[in-house]
């Protein structure tokens, strides 16, 4: 074994150089699955705390943030057009609907698609969790 690089350095090198290589999403998912990790679970597990951090969207486009809670939906719309809104759907449903309608009326098709995708995701999740 004399003269050869130690095994641990070889493994360290593999870890380092493999991380520098460009991975496609498919390769990444496969590698995680081989590791015994469900990529979907990873995506659901990582960042749950981030939603509590208030991050402003410094652009004109509509951004939505939909959170499910026991009392209903909390919808936060931000961006220059929408201003900021935070409504508990269970306590003030009319206001929520009115404000969403107001914002959506000004939105582009692309913005509407983003919004609907977001809401759909939340509904799908809610259905599964219940």
């Amino acid at each position: 074994m004399k003269g050869l690089t130690k095994g641990r350095h070889v493994f360290d090198l593999i870890t380092e150089l493999s991380s520098q290589a460009e991975w496609t999403e498919n390769e990444t998912r496969k590698a995680l699955q081989e590791e015994g990790i469900d990529p979907g679970y990873l995506l659901r597990s990582v960042l749950p705390g981030v939603k509590t951090l208030d991050i402003e969207v410094p652009c004109e486009a509509l951004s939505t943030f939909v959170k499910l809670s026991k009392s209903g939906y909390e919808v936060r719309l931000s961006g220059q057009r929408a201003g900021n809104l935070q409504v508990d759907a269970a306590s003030n449903r009319e206001e929520l609907i009115a404000r969403i309608a107001e914002v959506l009326a000004k939105a582009s098709l692309q913005e509407l698609e983003s919004f609907l995708r977001h809401v759909e995701d939340s509904y799908v999740s809610k259905g599964k969790s219940e």
Binding site: F11, S18, S19, S45, G49, K51, I55, V57, Q110
Partner: protein, 241 residues
Amino acid sequence: LKNNFSFAKAAKIKTSSASRLWEVGLGGQERDFRTALIHLSPEELDQLRLQVGRYAFSKSRRLRWRTGSTIELPGGETVFSIVSKAFEKLISGERGWNPAEQPSLQRHLESVVDSLLSHLVESADNKLLAKLPTHEAGLEEAEVREWRRRGSQTPEEILLQKERDELDDIAIGRLEEACSDDPLLRSVVAAMRDGLAKPADIAEVTSHSVKDINNCFKRLDRKCIVVGRLMRLEYGIGGQL
């Protein structure tokens, strides 16, 4: 929630379809790490989380964990929580990103993961052994000097390192076996054992392109998953591969 951190894609922001989007378009001073994240589409943000997650699992495999698991870590942490913390530290600004120093947001997040794992592996909760004997307990002065000469390592730690080195050498044998059906992978492992550490150098001695060699590293990382599993079965070690 299916996706707790899904910013709706801003319609007027041009995004790149390149998988390394987070490495481009960040030159403007007004674009800090938060806006960089916001500029990512949900799909691109998913990819970033998957990449950093894969990296964290790969790194965790190389470390020695008291828990005997490469996922469930000491201190009540998991690899998932470590990756999550890395993103939270980025967004809270605790580990803010400076693109001038590190152009890749992914690499920056990976360095935060490194730091978190490193702290955890050194934490008291990851110690396998009880308190060391002291000088007063009868240790010879020469032995104490020998400890000090070796830096911060204790005799137990030196013994453990020796054991780890032996296991790593056995694992290299397993890796070579796992690569037996792939001559290029075997050549790459052989080149690394000969001391080559740069893809360009390995590409030269194996007469392949750097791209081929980078692909080899991805395949080798996945082979390491299999070897790690074998080593855990044979030797009951948690982590280290």
